[in-house]
Amino acid sequence: MEATIAAEKSNTGPWTGGGKEPLGSSYGKMMMWFFIISDALTFSGFLAAYGLMRYKFLDSWPIADEVFTHVPFIHGHYPMYYVAFMTFVLIFSSVTMVLAVDAGHQMKKGKVTLYMLFTIIGGLIFLGSQAWEWKNFIGGTYGALELQDGKIVQFVDATGHQIALEEFVIRSNEERVPHTKSNGLWFVNDAAALPPYTVNEVIESFNANPEINLRSEKVDLNVKHKIILSREEATRYLANATSVVKGANLKVNEYGKTLFADFFFFITGFHGFHVFSGIVINIIIFFNVIIGTYERRGHYEMVEKVGLYWHFVDLVWVFVFTFFYLV
């Protein structure tokens, strides 16, 4: 059975409405497909660039399982679960979308409306989850020290598990003066974002706790774990520490390479923007369905076209999920 239903053609005026359908596909659908190919190549370019940098820094790339470990309302270390939920939500919204298309083929306006609504809700849940994931990544989990050359060192307990700075750092009484513009630091405008501890406080607390170890960014490629330094090595590393880092942004990243954060924000942000625009288009089509535009037109091809875009967003997520969280 042919699932694609030809658009009704008007043959008035010089433009015949594209009565000839090359390759059996209507003009609108074909152009949507061509747009999707070009967009797919754009995303491929981004992901390939991520792959380039990952291979370039193969022995010091952050391990995703240690970065994305949060689950709402539960404390602890739960890698993958939340992002698996997000993937599931997006696949499910794809299903409701294809069900809407299917109902459109049968001209069932009520069902199309309902399934479009589910699709929009699924998209909103996904976007919200993505925002929550960003919030955790930006806020950080443990905190770390940045060395002079930009490398990150993290703190682990005797069992090799990472521990947060606030678990062992004792605040000294040294006075901390925020940068102010009146002191000539006109280029500093984030005076409020003072890191939670000073470098000296962290180093002193580290020296006072012999059971705590320092972990470098370097990955032992034989076992695929980051290397834990001896106490002597740690002292030499700490002599180079310049700042306390909590969380991740485009300049520093407590989990390791800043490039990881840059790519994460850029690629998931670009994908999230696609989801956002998909939701907006879905809402427009949703209201068109309600007011009966497609019922009068005699076919629901617009639902099919926006469906293609929505599935594409899901398709891209499948790859982003693999390359950021699994591989």
Partner: protein, 114 residues
């Protein structure tokens, strides 16, 4: 207007399959079995190859059944799939080889002993 037959059953089956593949991926991703994770085959571990193949399987499911590529004319389908697959493989291969080379060159200049 034509009343096309409903494909609801097939859609739910595909959904079940995609969910199953995702669950398998997540289980492997959490456990990372050492016999697969600590191997090297053509530039990456066997586990990563499994992830890549499962991802392509999912992409196939979405494109063929949700995006209805299966029902398009073969010529149209090929125009889309072959173009994308060829260009993406080409791009990824060259860029990843180059990244590997950059890593090899850079490694000896990166300081790890302070």
């Amino acid at each position: 207007m034509a009343h096309a037959e409903s494909h609801t059953g097939l859609i739910w089956k595909v959904f079940g399959f995609l969910s199953l593949v995702t669950v398998v991926e997540v289980i492997l991703g959490i456990n990372k079995p050492e016999s697969l994770h600590l191997t090297n085959f053509l530039g990456t571990s066997l586990l990563n190859w499994i992830f890549l193949i499962l991802t392509l399987v999912k992409a196939y499911g979405i494109a063929w059944y949700f995006m209805h590529l299966k029902q398009e004319k073969a010529s149209f389908r090929r125009a889309i799939v072959w173009t994308a697959v060829f260009l993406i493989c080409y791009l990824a291969t060259l860029i990843l080889i180059e990244g590997n080379y950059m890593g090899d060159v850079l490694r000896s200049y990166t300081k790890w002993n302070y």
